[in-house]
């Protein structure tokens, strides 16, 4: 074949392939890449995240054609896009909805990883690249949110940047360095525009490339958490694997269809999505002299914002919030249990992970609401539980003695007690404290006396 095409025969495809080996690329990446055959609902979100990225880049390019990154012109240019640019409203709504859907998809993708132990050996780096993508995505969303230059844009950015200024010593100079000014101004808007439109998208695409390269190296995990590469047939292909293309390409297209139906239902029928995706106060131009009564962050930041607000001490709050994100990076070394999938983990671990997900959603809800005594208490307790999840996961990593569980229980209860002692004693809800102790006892004393923390046997082959 090689010879034939060199002699001038062969197809156009041959001609190109001799110069650009695309056939090898398709073979490596798609038709010869074997994926487990039992992917379920949770495995749609990786490809969907890629789809949303494309939507954001394409709509973003069209938005920059009419957007004016200046304090004088930004707000009016967004209204110009909404009113005078042909289909501008659709492009803008797709971009604003896309931002929220990006996080929804990424959160579900991450939860999939937690459920099936996809961060465990040999996929630690894959997980870390994923976490880096998540952090860069948060920065990207934060910079983008300032651009419409509404009241929420302005004061939301003000709140987040002021978080840096509470850091002792370097805080204030750092905040001024980020803003480029003593307050958020035209200078800040311009640099946020540059970061949002050029710098971070490039970083994001680079990280996604590494995420995919790492995935191709280890192969996908699956709902059973079994390595399909360990069971190969006589032809050298995994027995339980199927080529990614055509099988998963045609399957993912169904997922794309369902996702787009949801996406465009929001874009066309509820673009503000109950004021969660686009906030009413952001339809008022930014006014540095008038602070809105309440500046809640956008929904995808609220779990971490609730953690920040739950800690009475400002510096402590910022540290807790940072830690809440950083600790996820260490997940592969925290949970070292040999069984990957939640399907074969113990009853107690299932309960733990589900409670963690539930607590994350509750924190997200609390972050949206103005603080009350009850909400503060709940936020603090769910913050404690958020961090407890990692401690207990670590304890569950291997079989422990009865005394080990007693010790772990004592340490966790002591930590909770210290937090209660440090804060204002008068503010303590004794009921909440008792519930926390009961929850700790449930997860750390039951394994010492029952068989609820025993894993199920993992099958040799994929089930379904």
């Amino acid at each position: 074949m090689q010879n034939k095409s060199n002699q001038g025969g062969g197809t156009v495809g041959d001609w190109i392939n001799d110069r650009l080996p695309y056939r090898q690329f398709v073979e490596d990446q798609l038709t010869g890449y074997y994926a487990p055959k039992n992917f379920n609902f949770w495995y749609f979100f990786g490809s969907l995240a890629l789809l949303v990225l494309v939507i954001q880049i394409v709509t973003g390019i069209f938005l920059t054609m009419s957007y004016k990154p200046s304090a004088d012109g930004a707000f009016a240019s967004v209204e110009y896009i909404m009113r005078d640019v042909e289909w501008g409203w659709l492009i803008r709504y797709m971009h604003s909805t896309g931002a929220s859907m990006f996080f929804l998809v990424v959160y579900l993708h991450m939860f999939r990883g937690l459920m099936y132990g996809s961060y465990k050996k040999p996929r630690e780096l894959l997980w870390i690249f994923g976490m880096l993508i998540y952090v860069v995505l948060m920065a990207e969303a934060f910079f983008g949110y300032l651009l419409p230059w509404g009241q929420m844009s302005y004061w939301g950015a003000q709140v987040i940047i002021s978080l840096f200024s509470v850091l002792p010593g370097i805080g204030e100079p750092l905040a001024i360095w980020i803003r480029g000014d003593y307050l958020i101004s035209d200078v800040t808007l311009n640099r946020f525009f540059a970061l949002h439109v050029v710098a971070l998208p490039l970083v994001l695409i680079g990280l996604i490339f590494f995420h995919l390269v790492a995935l191709r190296q280890t192969g996908s995990n699956n709902p059973d958490g079994i390595e399909i590469k360990e069971n190969k047939g006589p032809d050298g292909k995994p027995v339980d694997g199927i080529p990614f293309h055509p099988y998963y390409t045609v399957k993912d297209i169904v997922g794309v269809g369902v996702f787009l139906a949801l996406f465009f239902a929001i874009v066309f029928f509820a673009p503000t999505f109950l004021d969660l995706f686009l906030k009413p106060a952001n339809f008022i131009p930014a006014d540095p002299l008038q602070t809105p009564e309440y500046v809640p962050p956008v929904w995808y930041f609220t779990p971490f914002y609730a953690i920040l607000a739950a800690i009475p001490d400002q510096v402590g709050g910022v540290i807790a919030m940072g830690l809440a994100i950083l600790v996820l990076f260490a997940m592969p070394w925290i949970d070292r249990h040999p069984v990957k999938s939640i399907r074969y983990r113990s009853f107690l671990y299932k309960a733990l992970l589900m409670s963690f997900a539930f607590g994350f959603i509750v924190l997200g809800y609390l972050g949206l609401k103005p603080a009350t005594t009850l909400y503060n208490e709940l936020a603090l307790r769910f913050t404690e539980f958020y961090f407890m999840f990692f401690i207990i996961s670590w304890v569950y990593s291997e079989p422990r003695s009865r005394n080990y569980y007693y010790g772990a229980f004592a340490i966790v209860v002591a930590l909770i007690a210290v937090i209660d002692l440090v804060r204002d004693m008068a503010g303590i809800s004794w009921i909440a404290l008792l519930v926390m102790i009961a929850v700790t006892a449930f997860f750390l004393l039951l394994p010492a006396h029952t068989r609820l923390n025993e894993s199920k046997p993992v099958p040799e082959r994929l089930t379904s």
């Binding site: 099988y247 399957k251 794309v256 106060a281 339809f283």
Partner: protein
């Protein structure tokens, strides 16, 4: 000169309101209970939008601009012929391609009212239609304010009750504990309650439309987009089923 005339006419308004409040006779039976309610406006109702646009141009545009909105777009969307639009909307001498701006300099506005009247292009998106509806319903006489009136939705509103000649003037009533009960009309306006309610709803409807002019079209287009995606998803499902027949 212009300034003096405006100042005079404003004080005349205050005087009239004060005179109205002088004639108050407490009559408990006349108190109408009032609480905020939904506007229930319908942005697809073209006649209502046209009426609302006319009311807005006559009563609101003196102070409140719609600076992101063009006369031309209003004329197109509300299906008004150009000559009618020029006569009824852009009667201040503006071109149809112009934005709906006001002539009052912001400094003067601050001088007269304590603040410049806000632009209302996006008020239906920041406050919501219901809020505007209740705001326009709940002006009441209050001697302690400069304007002579106050508002249930916006305490110490700098804005006077511009529609008083239509609604009349009302007084707020409170129970023994000082919580608000309702309004009592102390001076009839040119409109009945029902007529005024419809007028307010028309204005709200117009502002709702101005806040997002595309909203009616958006839903109409959305239906077809979703229908297309539905067919696409169904076909891709059949394709998937066909390809996956031999798996397992």
């Amino acid at each position: 000169m212009m300034r003096t005339i405006r100042k005079l006419s404003l004080s005349a308004l205050v005087l009239v309101i004060a005179a109205g409040s002088g004639a108050v006779i407490a009559d408990e039976d006349a108190v109408r209970e009032w609480r905020p309610s939904a506007a229930n406006n319908d942005v697809t109702n073209l006649a209502s939008l046209q009426r609302g646009a006319r009311y807005y141009m006559n009563y609101c545009l003196g102070c409140h601009s719609l600076e992101y909105k063009r006369y031309q777009r209003i004329a197109d969307d509300l299906e008004l012929p150009e000559d009618l639009a020029l006569e009824n909307l852009a009667f201040t001498g503006d071109e149809l391609a112009d934005m709906v701006k006001i002539a009052m300099p912001p400094e003067d506005a601050e001088d007269w009212f304590g603040m410049a009247a806000p632009d209302l292009t996006l008020v239906s998106r920041s406050r919501g239609p219901d809020w505007i509806y209740n705001f326009l319903h709940s002006f009441y006489i209050d001697d302690r304010t400069v304007a002579g009136t106050n508002n249930r939705m916006l305490d110490n509103a700098a804005m006077p009750h511009v529609l008083w000649s239509l609604q009349g003037l009302q007084k707020a009533h409170y129970d023994e504990e000082g919580s608000f009960v309702g309004f009592e009309t102390v001076r009839e306006g040119r409109m009945s309650h029902e007529e005024y309610d419809r007028t307010v709803r028309d204005i709200v409807n117009f502002l709702d439309y101005v806040g997002e002019p595309i909203q009616t079209d958006r839903k109409r287009i959305g239906f077809w987009v979703l229908a297309f995606i539905g067919v696409f998803t169904f076909l891709s499902y059949l394709l998937y089923k066909d390809y996956w027949r031999d798996v397992k």
